[in-house]
Structures are given as C-alpha cells and as structure tokens.
C-alpha cells in the first residue's frame, strides 16, 4: 500500500507542475492551432533563470514571475518570426528552441547543470514553511497543486475576457477577427506569450523542486505537453463540466502516471524518450479517430 501511495505522490509531485505547461500548450495548440516547438527551449529557460536568480538571493516567488515574463518574451519572438517575417509555425518554433540553447548556456555561465542547494525556494520558504509534521512530506504536491490551480483559474478567467474571446476567435476563424477590425497576427503573438510564459513557469517550479536547473531538461517537453493536452482534451471531451484547461492538467497527470508505471514495471531509463514518443503517437492517432467521428455528426450546411 505504501508503495502505491509513494507512486501516486511521485506522479502528482511532477504531474501538477507539468500541468501548468500543459495549460500553456493548450492555449497555443488547441486554442490557436499553433504547434509551438519553442516550448523545448522555454522550459529550461525558466529553470535556468530561476537557478540564477535564487542563487543570487532573489525571492523565489519573484523568480517565478520573472521566469514567466522571460518565457513570454521568448514566445513573443516565436510569434514575431511567424507573423511579421512569415516563417512557418514549425520553423519559427525550431529557430527559437535552437537559439534558447545558447541563451540558457549564457545564463548558467556555460555549465550544463546549475544547482542551488539550501537556498529558499517556494517549497521551503513562505507559506510552505508553515507546514509541519506529516504535512511536510506532501508540501511539494500541495504547492504544485496550488500553483497549477491558480494558473488554471487565471487562464480560465482570461479566456472569458474580451481579449480572451478574441484570442479564441483568432484560432478558430482569423477572417472573423479581421472583420472585427483587429489583426489576428497580434492575437497569435499574445497566445504564444501566454503559452511560453506558462511553460517557463513550469520549468521554474520544477527547478525549485529539484533545487537545480538542467539545461537539457527541455528535450521532449513539446512531445510531453502536446500528448498531455491531446490525451486530456480528447478523453474528457464528453464531460461538459470539466473545462479544457482542467482536462489538460488531468492529461499531464495521466501521462506522467503512464511514465511512472512503465518505470515501475522495469522499463530501462534509456527507453524513456522512446516511450514518450510512442505515447504521443497513440494520443495523436486516437485523437484523429475521435475527430473523424465528430465530423460526421455535422449538420447539412445548406439546410436552414
């Protein structure tokens, strides 16, 4: 029983944190229909910036905020490349992802791993320090969940504002945004800022959990985030009361659970990325099946 509890805790400790990234990728991939590969670069960007700031004694919550802003700036570059220079969506992402590698190295001063042991993090200072006794061992899960839920609520709220509606419209029907006198390109950039901001925030929180930043931690993040979003939103499409952002978080937790279970069953670590790719493929294929079924239900377009 203890093993199961340990496993669940293990899943949730990272699941909620990856859930924040999944919310961000939900915005770019599902709302804007933009497959954003820069995520692979902005995730470690958040981690590296946080490591540098916390090592310098900056408040960990402030570090989270700065990580979010820097991730947003990187997303803005992806958007500008795509919208202003008319580079395809995939290539814009790849360009930023590649450039981020150098940026991250500059931030960590050339080292691949930047530890900051025994410094204040959101898990050890502030409200987390109030947790004592038994609660203490759940502090990572608790704080991860709180951060994730706060991000989710803010994004949900944003999507109901005028700007949020316009964002949804520009993914759905750019021509409609044009007829409203607005530039859908601008909204694409806004969406990429939010998406990459959330990703960098996830990177920041994960770095604080492990008290170190790893420059390679971004590899496979796109695959992971997309799989989470697709698994979550297609599994829970039928459940009306679950919002898509919650579905993305649940997807991230389920995805993490798959990985943990596979590891537990004795899959060698070397096969981890392969497994991630396989899971993503399964998610994509099943999503296509779902979508196919949905299209057939459409009404005859000429009947009033």
């Amino acid at each position: 029983m203890d093993i199961v509890f340990g496993l669940i805790r293990n899943v949730l400790e990272e699941g909620f944190i990856y859930g924040i990234m999944a919310i961000g990728v939900y915005i770019t991939y599902r709302v804007l229909d933009f497959p954003d590969l820069s995520v692979d670069g902005t995730f470690p960007l958040g981690a590296c910036i946080t490591a540098m700031l916390i090592a310098a004694g900056v408040n960990p919550w402030l570090a989270c905020l700065i990580a979010f802003l820097c991730g947003g700036a990187a997303g803005c570059v992806t958007g500008l490349l795509h919208v202003k220079l008319r580079i395809t969506d995939l290539l814009s992402g790849i360009l930023v992802m590649t450039a981020m590698w150098s940026v991250n190295l500059v931030i960590t001063n050339g080292s691949a791993v930047l530890p900051f042991y025994n410094k204040d993090t959101i898990f050890t200072s502030g409200p987390a320090a109030l947790l004592t006794g038994d609660a203490k061992q759940y502090r990572i899960v608790l704080l991860g969940a709180v951060c994730c839920i706060v991000v989710k609520l803010i994004i949900d709220l944003y999507l109901r504002t005028k700007s949020g509606l316009l964002l949804r419209a520009s993914g759905d029907n750019p021509q409609y945004v044009i007829s409203l006198g607005k530039d859908p390109g601008t909204m694409k950039i806004v969406g990429l800022v939010i998406g990459n901001g959330c990703t960098a925030l996830a990177g920041s929180i994960l770095a604080q959990q492990s008290e170190s930043a790893n420059i390679q931690s971004g590899t496979g993040m796109v695959v992971m985030a997309l799989a989470s979003v697709i698994i979550g939103t297609s599994l829970l499409r039928k459940v009306k009361w679950i919002r898509a952002t919650s579905a993305a978080v649940i997807g991230a937790i389920l995805y993490k659970a798959c990985l943990v279970i596979a590891m537990q069953l004795g899959l060698p670590t070397n096969f981890l990325k392969l497994l991630m790719a396989v899971l993503f493929t399964i998610a994509l294929v099943s999503n296509n099946l779902f979508a196919g079924r949905r299209k057939k239900q459409n009404v005859n377009p000429t009947q009033i």
């Binding site: 944003y158 007829s179 006198g181 009947q303």
Partner: protein, 269 residues
Amino acid sequence: MSTQLKSETDKNFVGLRHIYKTFNLGSVNEVVLFTDFNLEIEKNQFVSVVGSNGSGKTTILNLLCGSIPVDSGSVFVNGREIGKLKEHERSRFIGRVFQDPSKGTCPELTILENMALADNKGSSFGLQLGVNKRRIDYYRTQLELLKLGLEDKLDLKVSSLSGGQRQALALLICTMTPLDLLILDEHTAALDPRSSETVMELTEHLVREKQLTTLMVTHNLKFAVNYGDRLIMMHRGNIVLDAGPEEKSSLQIRDLTEKFNEISIEDGN
C-alpha cells in the same frame, strides 16, 4: 422631389478610380483583369452586380476590402483614400459577408459570444468581461429579427447551426455596428432556395433600415432585378451594363439573360 443637392462625397461615396490589376504578371498564367477600371457608388445606394465567371466581381470586392492590393489606381470610401490601409483596418468601416457561411462567424464560440465580440467592434479588446450581461436583451431583440428562434439558443455553439442560420447570423453581426460600406459576395449561393429567399429579405430589411451603402454580387438574376437601386453587369473586367434606378425598374430578367447570351457569343461559345 427633394431639391437638396448631394454633396460631392455623397455622390462619389465609394470609388474605384483608374484601377489596374494583373495577376501573375510575367508568367504564362498572366491574367490582365482590369485596365483603367472605374466605378462610383452614391451614398445609401444598394448596387447589385452580376456577371460571368471570372469577370472580376470578387476581385473588385477584394480590392475594396484590401484582401489584395491594386497595381495602380485609387480606392475611396467616404471621401478618403484607403489604399494604404490594411485589410483589418478597413474592416472598421467596411463589413463583408462571404459566400462561405463559416467565414462570417466563429464556429467554436457560442451565439452569445459571437454577438458580444461583434458588439465590441471599434472599441478596445481588453481585460473586461467578454460578455456584458446587460446587453443580452438587446442581442435577443436583434436575433428575433431573424425569425429563426435563435434568441432562445444564445449558448449554442455556432458550429451546430445550419448554413442558412449561420449566414443570417453573420449578416446580423456584420451590420451591428455602423458601416460605411456593406459588401456581399454571393452570400446566398450556398443556401437552398428557401433559405436564400429568407436571407435576401433580411438583407433588404437591414440595408434599408440602416441605410447602408451596399455592393452585392450575385448569380441569382431574380435577386439582382428585384433588389437594389442599381444593377451592374460585368464581363472580362469591364462594366457592360450599368442600369440606374429608373432604367432598372423596367429591367426584366429576360433582358439580362439576352445580354448574357450576347456576351457568350462574343466569347465564341
């Protein structure tokens, strides 16, 4: 008879002047469409445009909306040269309904959200709540005009509406805020005969009520004859018939078909 003289901008409210447009310049597919094309539309005039396939009707609309640039010449709306404005900037005073019913609304948003967005056109899209609850009654009364029962389905996604319902909604949404020019590109073409009648009557109602300057392209000669103050027939980038209010009232569908046949004979088919 009103003796009030129309001002110069009212007479030439919308203008395409000395327009040149060639597609695929210099390639084997070169299409020289417009050479020194001119068209002036009076304020509050409802113009219907007919013409053979490829005669340049959609291109005129695209040039007005800024979807494609002119090679040379100038485009005026309400006394202002708008050639330098981008498509979305022109949308602030030009409304457009497309042939494809899915283009004029957002399928994944609800009817209410679509209307709220349209209602906010012209102001900023900031962080205020998207749907203003106090406007819902107004949206309902607007939807009642359509007589489609949509006023009771505000929270329905637009993707679940039929093409005719969507087109009616698109037309309503497009004319919700003040416009200098309304552009309709075969907006009834994808609908069944009854739906297109409904949408056409709605068009007439809205255009007259809001006194909109309107340019409507249609392949339906009956609509072209029965609706609008002026009728233009296009052929190969030229206006071959331009019937003003008096001439148009005596115009029959038969006259138009004859004219069409004349043109086709010239073409040798």
